[in-house]
Structures are given as structure tokens and as C-alpha cells.
């Protein structure tokens, strides 16, 4: 190859390895070949080198120059799936996966945990835990102003509320307060017996109508909760489940629910 920017007019120059190698392969221009041939005549070492390389080439051809014609000549072609079909398939799987996730979130998880009403019970439980230890301000409006309390909370919850009496269980009304609920205002009524033990009734609007009567436990606190006629009720207190349950049944029926359905 003479396109390698190799100065060829310098005849006195001794050819380097690259040139000798190209000479062996007949890749030099005629002029360069002549220069190399002339050089080889009086440089024995270079001549020996070239001879060795020629022998090497012959040996390599003898070594690996044979093609095996008897080989069965066939090529296995795997069917080519066009890229758009592969992409479409991947997209389909992705969509199916996303659909599955949505399905699980929409239908399976709420059924497992009780969903909305569960978080409703949790709120009631937290409200209980926050306000019952209060000594001086357990309620916003005390039981002394019961009428005002009921009309105020009824107005805020946009619903006629009534406060069931728990006298027969030894609990008297302390008062009530307004709280933020899941999707609007919620009301909490607090009761207390003569030992100072407190119960709360938490009331909030719940769009979903569900008659189930459930129990939520957190530590030693129990919360029975139910939904009746678009309102959610939760009765919380640190007392035995059986007793709390019978109070809850009482409250439910006092508020116009149908506790018979739970038994």
C-alpha cells in the first residue's frame, strides 16, 4: 500500500519491518518493491527475515488453509419478531400488570382491611387517645349545655344528632367537641363513670353504607364501629370487649340502628 504517507523517494533509507512485511504480501508499489529487493541483496539479516516470514506464511496456509467442503452447509434461522410486535407485547404485559395493581388496590385491599370504615375507626381511636387523658379541657362544650352542644354539632355535621344516655352502665356525659374527620367534620362525645374511666362516641358522615359491626383493637383500647344510614359511629374505651359490645349495641339501637343484624 502506498497510501500510507510513506516517503518512497528516499532510496537510501533502509526499509523497516512494515515495509518488509508488505513486501512479503506484494502490497508495495513497484518502485518500493524494487527498493526493498535491492536492499535485500546486501542485507543478509533482512533477507533471512523475509525468508522466514515466507516460510511462516506457507506453514500457516498448510496449517489452517484447508476448507472443509464436506460440512453440511446450512444455517438455522430463528424467526424474526419485528421490533414493533415485541414492543407491543411488552406494552401489553405492562398494561396487564398495571391493571392488576389497580384491581388489587381497588377491590382486594379494601376488603382485606375494611378500607374506609377501618380508617374511620382508627381516627376514632386516636381521638380517644388524645382527648380522654385531658384533665381540664376534655371537651369543648360541657354536658351542662347539652342542648347547645347537640344543636351545634348537628349543624356542623349537617345531620340531626342525638346523644344516647349511658346512665344504666354508670357513664354520664361529660360533653363533646368538633373534630376533623376523613372528609369533613366529625363529633366526639365523651362519657365518664364515677371512677373516672372514660368512653367516647365518635360520629362522622360516611358515604358508604355498610351494616357491618366491627371491632378495632389498639393496645388495651377497643373500638366497636358500625355504619348506619350514612353515618359512622365508633364507641371507644379501655374496657372489656363484652361489656363494650353490649354498650355499643345499646347505643346503636338508641340511635336508630339495627343491632339485631350483628348478633
Amino acid at each position: 500500500m502506498n497510501n500510507d504517507a510513506r516517503p518512497t523517494d528516499d532510496a537510501a533509507r533502509t526499509p523497516d519491518l512494515r515495509m518488509l512485511s508488505a513486501f512479503v504480501d506484494d502490497e508495495l508499489s513497484e518502485r518500493d518493491s524494487a527498493v526493498v529487493r535491492e536492499h535485500l541483496e546486501h542485507d543478509e539479516a533482512a533477507a533471512a527475515q523475509v525468508a522466514a516470514w515466507r516460510a511462516q506464511r506457507a506453514a500457516l496456509r498448510a496449517l489452517c488453509g484447508a476448507t472443509t467442503r464436506d460440512d453440511t452447509q446450512f444455517v438455522v434461522l430463528r424467526p424474526q419478531v419485528p421490533w414493533w410486535r415485541r414492543t407491543a407485547l411488552a406494552a401489553c404485559w405492562l398494561l396487564a400488570g398495571a391493571g392488576l395493581v389497580v384491581c388489587i388496590e381497588q377491590f382486594v385491599l379494601p376488603n382485606l382491611s375494611g378500607g374506609e370504615t377501618m380508617s374511620f375507626a382508627r381516627r376514632a381511636d386516636v381521638a380517644y387517645a388524645v382527648y380522654t387523658p385531658e384533665k381540664r379541657h376534655p371537651v369543648e362544650v360541657a354536658a351542662a349545655e347539652e342542648e347547645h352542644l347537640i344543636s351545634w354539632l348537628s349543624k356542623r355535621l349537617n345531620r340531626q344528632l342525638s346523644v344516647p344516655s349511658l346512665q344504666e352502665y354508670g357513664y354520664t356525659l361529660v360533653g363533646g367537641r368538633l373534630l376533623p374527620g376523613e372528609a369533613g367534620p366529625a363529633a366526639q362525645f365523651m362519657y365518664e363513670n364515677q371512677n373516672g374511666a372514660r368512653l367516647t362516641l365518635y360520629v362522622a358522615g360516611i358515604p358508604k353504607d355498610e351494616t357491618a359491626f366491627r371491632l378495632f383493637r389498639d393496645g388495651n383500647r377497643r373500638t366497636f364501629y358500625w355504619v348506619s344510614d350514612g353515618m359512622g359511629y365508633a364507641l371507644s374505651g379501655p374496657i372489656a370487649e363484652g361489656k363494650l359490645r353490649s354498650i355499643a349495641v345499646e347505643v346503636c339501637s338508641a340511635l336508630g340502628g339495627r343491632p339485631e343484624a350483628w348478633q
Binding site: D16, A52, R54, Q56, A59, L60, T68, V75
Partner: protein
């Protein structure tokens, strides 16, 4: 009446245009399928040479056969990427080289000096060429780094011109020249004064096939 004639003429013209479009599409299709058929035949005709080269390069017949199969498959699948009137053989060799390097990476290049290097399983060549024992040549060949071995094989055995080798390997002609001269010199040194003759533990497993 006149309007009728005009409509008919327009309709006719539209039909002619459609027909012409269909014909040109068919012609183009025919051209491509013709090209594809001859391309496939050309690829298949180079397979023996590819196999010979792959065997020499890898020193492993099974590997070489896989390599040739993969090369042919990839070439046929990407026939659209081949520019007509360019060097098909160099193109195929380039594909083969890329595949080989990929597979080498996977197999973690087996050192040539290792006891179980694949070339040791090759049939031990017998015979002498101008004073060189083929077995020693073989050993020297697999002592070369891959870069040098492929140039030596392409130029000396496959008889590619420097130009073709430079296309196949994707390097300038000057690089081909230097690699080749270095490879030759190293082989010569290995064959004349190298440790080959001293190493008695040369183990050649003869293949009975």
C-alpha cells in the same frame, strides 16, 4: 353530456394513477426480493471460508461452527444493512469478529498456555514446511494476542488485501501493516529462539476423528 365525459375522463385518470402506483410498488418489491435471494446465495457461498477462518481464529471446531452459524444468521437477518456493491466478505468477517469478541467476553478468554486451551484439542498437524514444524507454528499462532492473530490469519491464510483487512477489522491500513509486521516478527522469534523447543511438557491431545 360534456360534463359526463369530463367525469369519466377524470375517473379514468385516477384509475391509471392507482395502477401505476401498484405496479411501481410491485416492481420495487420484486427488486428487493431478487436482491435478497442473491444476497442469501452470496452469504452461503462464503460460509466455507468463514468456517476456515473461525476455526483458525478460535482453535476450537465446535466454537467456530457456532460462530459461523451465528454470523450467517445475523447477516441474513440484517440483509437490509448491507450496502450493495460493498465488500460482502469483509462485512461478514466484521460480523464474525464482533460475535467472537462478545463470546470471548462471556467465556473469559481462555489463556493459551492453559492446560485445557481449546487449540490443544486440535488435531496435531504433522509435516514440515521449509524447516518449520507445523506443531510449533500452531503453538506460536495461539501465543499471539488476538489483535495480531486475526491480522495474520486474514492476510496470510484468507489472502485478504490490506485494504480488505482494514475494512473487516475496522482499522486503518497503517495499523494493519504494523500489527502484521509485529505479529510476524514475534512468531519468528518464538519459532527460532523461543521457549517452544525447550518446553518438553508440550501436550497434544490427538483427536481420533
Amino acid at each position: 353530456m360534456r360534463r359526463h365525459v369530463g367525469q369519466r375522463r377524470r375517473k379514468q385518470r385516477r384509475l391509471e394513477q392507482q395502477l401505476r402506483r401498484i405496479l411501481s410498488r410491485a416492481r420495487r418489491h420484486a427488486y428487493f426480493s431478487d436482491f435478497r435471494v442473491s444476497f442469501e446465495a452470496d452469504v452461503v457461498s462464503w460460509l466455507p471460508q468463514l468456517r476456515r477462518y473461525a476455526r483458525a481464529l478460535t482453535g476450537d471446531h465446535a466454537w467456530a461452527d457456532d460462530l459461523v452459524q451465528d454470523t450467517a444468521e445475523r447477516a441474513l437477518a440484517r440483509w437490509k444493512a448491507f450496502r450493495p456493491n460493498s465488500n460482502l466478505r469483509a462485512w461478514l468477517l466484521t460480523i464474525l469478529r464482533h460475535l467472537y469478541i462478545d463470546q470471548l467476553r462471556v467465556r473469559r478468554e481462555i489463556a493459551v498456555d492453559e492446560e485445557n486451551a481449546p487449540w490443544r484439542n486440535l488435531e496435531a498437524p504433522r509435516g514440515e514446511v521449509d524447516g518449520l514444524v507445523l506443531r510449533d507454528v500452531q503453538r506460536a499462532l495461539y501465543c499471539l494476542p488476538l489483535e495480531q492473530r486475526e491480522v495474520v490469519l486474514l492476510v496470510c491464510v484468507e489472502e485478504l488485501s490490506y485494504q480488505e483487512a482494514s475494512i473487516a477489522l475496522g482499522v486503518p491500513v497503517g495499523t494493519i501493516m504494523s500489527r502484521l509486521s509485529r505479529a510476524r516478527e514475534q512468531m519468528r522469534v518464538l519459532l527460532t529462539e523461543g521457549p517452544i523447543h525447550k518446553s518438553v511438557s508440550l501436550k497434544v491431545v490427538r483427536n481420533s476423528s
